[in-house]
């Protein structure tokens, strides 16, 4: 058991880092891992300034900026799992050799996520730094509630990885348009996770989706850790204490862990039934 854990996780993390850091050209590395996510946040900043007359002092500004900065992790860690599977299957043609080795695919995906988390963190740090220095985002490292921040970040990343395992093993069963899956899910959840507007903005019949998503509570906790009481400007989750939000996030994470495990068992069987482990998609 412990052996399976070790031999699935350690080489996967090593491999992930080799791939993520294999930018013979550091300029390309910057463009792909940093400039792209940072730019997408900046586009929002400029759109906000063009559309809203409220300015950078309105609470919604920090809300949007931080929500989008941390959402970078969703693309990196959750959607990344799907790319790991496809890279192995179609680009390196190695998935079948990893699959027939005595490793656990979900734990392998956890290992691969480590490097994505690291490059994601670089992008998040740069986005936050740029926000504080140039765009009047009230982010001050000295006033951040670090224990809350790190605790929430860790729990959220674990949950994102569970979601990644689910999407990654689902990707394994797909032959048509699989490259699209990870980003599509990340984009779909974006609307419902309170990244860009509070859930109360959504029509009431759509709000339950947001309340079922771990991302909602995760982003709220991260904002509170960064902004302190200033984060309480929106009523959606104001009634909950930090401890309660943590409890909810933890509970949903456990549920997603279970769903990821059952999903993996199911998708694994489907992939084996249909001979998809070494398939090539028709893209």
């Amino acid at each position: 058991m412990l052996n399976t854990l070790r031999r699935s996780f350690v080489p996967a993390a090593w491999l992930g880092w080799q791939i993520e850091s294999n930018w013979t050209d550091p300029f390309l590395f910057l463009v792909f891992s940093v400039v792209k996510p940072v730019a997408s946040v900046l586009i929002l900043v400029f759109m906000y300034q063009a559309v809203s007359r409220a300015g950078a002092d309105a609470p919604i500004y920090a809300y949007i900026y931080l929500g989008n900065a941390f959402y970078i992790y969703v693309g990196a860690v959750m959607a990344g799992a799907s790319y790991s599977i496809l890279d192995d299957r179609e680009r390196y043609r190695s998935l079948k050799y990893i699959y027939i080795a005595p490793v656990s695919i979900p734990i392998y995906l956890f290992g691969r996520a480590v490097a994505r988390f690291i490059t994601g963190t670089i992008a998040v740090v740069i986005t936050l730094g740029a926000g504080a220095l140039f765009f009047r985002v009230p982010f001050n490292p000295l006033t951040v509630d670090w224990p809350l921040f790190l605790g929430a970040l860790a729990l959220g990343i674990v949950c994102l990885t569970f979601m990644g395992v689910l999407i990654g093993t689902w990707t394994m069963t797909l032959r048509t348009e699989p490259w699209f899956v990870g980003d599509a899910v990340a984009a779909a959840l974006y609307l419902f996770s309170g990244a860009i507007f509070p859930l109360t903005v959504l029509p009431s019949f759509l709000q339950p989706i947001g309340f079922a998503l771990p991302l909602t509570y995760w982003l709220e906790l991260l904002r509170r850790a960064v902004l302190g009481p200033g984060a309480a400007a929106f009523p959606t989750l104001a009634a909950f204490s930090n401890g309660q939000l943590f409890g909810i996030l933890g509970g949903i994470t456990v549920v997603f862990g279970l769903v990821a495990f059952l999903g993996y068992r199911y998708f694994d069987q489907v992939a084996r039934d249909n001979g998809m482990i070494d398939a090539q998609s028709n893209f």
Partner: protein, 336 residues
């Protein structure tokens, strides 16, 4: 747990569902039908068959990559469908004709990583990598990026990956496909040497090269269109044809009409005709030497002159024609 059989295959079948081009029209393709095989430990077993025969499908089932539709298969004593976690640490696989592996890693890094997946400690891994790279002649390339290797060298690295974990059963799917003569010979020699040094280790190899199966394998199963049609040692398979007399005959160019008359001559089993520039090559399978006189008589009647005539020993190619009813090349055209 030590099943004396490394591989047991019982009434195995596999059907692929094919997504229809037109809506609602689900189609199926039968890849394997009622396959039965036993491979004892220590054997180098060959599966010989044309394109589309079902070789890869069988290997995928035995290596836990693909679920069987019917029947069952045991590898190292464990059911591949229901006990995959028991099967996996005991096996490994290498497929030919594709370039797999992480191009950005060096040969040694690639191999080390796969050793890690099997829980090998780093010291053992490096010792084995050194020994195996030496045997396949890749020792000086250990620090080369995989993407910089030629097809042949990359396949040699892949072979090393397959044997690195010292598996009980190794599956080689057309390991020399697309390689030049030299690299193919190196790989065959490596497999033979590895088998010789490790009693009780088993290799199942697929190929559509007759000579490879003949030269390498202890026993060979001939597979066509998803069915195993014969299974024995190459010598025994050929011995079954010893009752026939086989001749190679080159004549002045023949029209195809002449052939039909040959086929009806008494004592003539089969005539294969290959027209060449300026002459015709005939491959004759006769019940006995005496039937040759009839053929020569018929040639004279067609005003054809004999350029050369040679009696030959049966090969696996003949065995294939005998059990399948057509040559490997014809079978491949027949497939799809």
């Amino acid at each position: 747990m030590s099943d004396p059989q490394a591989i047991r295959v019982e009434n195995l079948g596999r059907v692929y569902k094919i997504r229809a081009v037109k809506k609602g029209e689900a189609r199926e393709r039968v890849a394997l039908t009622d396959v039965n095989l036993d491979v004892p430990r220590g054997e180098l077993f060959g599966l010989l068959g044309p394109n589309g025969a079902g070789k890869t499908t069988l290997i995928k089932i035995l290596t836990t990559l693909l679920a069987p539709t019917t029947g069952r298969a045991l590898v190292a004593g464990y059911d591949v469908a229901r006990q995959a976690p028991e099967v996996r640490p005991r096996i490994n696989m290498v497929s030919g004709g594709e370039s797999s592996g992480y191009g950005l890693l060096t040969v040694r890094e690639n191999l080390w990583m796969f050793g890690q997946f099997y829980g090998l400690d780093t010291q053992t891994t490096h010792a084995r990598i050194d020994a195996l790279l030496e045997i396949v002649g890749l020792a000086d390339r250990a620090h080369t990026k995989t993407s910089d290797l030629s097809t042949g060298l990359r396949q040699k690295m892949n072979i090393v990956r397959g044997f690195l974990t010292d598996p009980e059963v190794v599956f080689l799917d057309e390991p020399t496909l697309g390689l030049d003569v030299g690299a193919s010979r190196d790989i065959r020699r490596f497999v033979r040497q590895w088998m010789a040094e490790r009693a009780g280790r088993t290799v199942l190899l697929t190929t559509h090269y007759m000579a490879e199966a003949d030269e390498l394998c202890d026993r060979v199963a001939i597979i066509n269109a998803g069915r195993v049609l014969a299974c024995d040692t190459p010598a025994n398979l050929k011995r079954r044809l010893q009752r026939e007399a086989l001749f190679k005959l080159e004549t002045s160019p023949l029209v195809n009409g002449a052939l039909t008359t040959f086929q009806t001559l008494p004592g003539v089993r089969k005539v294969l005709h290959a027209p060449h520039d300026g002459f015709s090559a005939l491959d004759l399978s006769l019940e006995a030497d005496s039937a040759l006189s009839g053929v020569i008589g018929a040639l004279t009647a067609h005003n054809a002159s004999i350029i050369s005539l040679q009696k030959r020993e049966p090969t696996l190619e003949d065995v294939f024609v005998d059990v399948v009813g057509m040559s490997m090349t014809e079978a491949e055209k027949h497939g799809d």
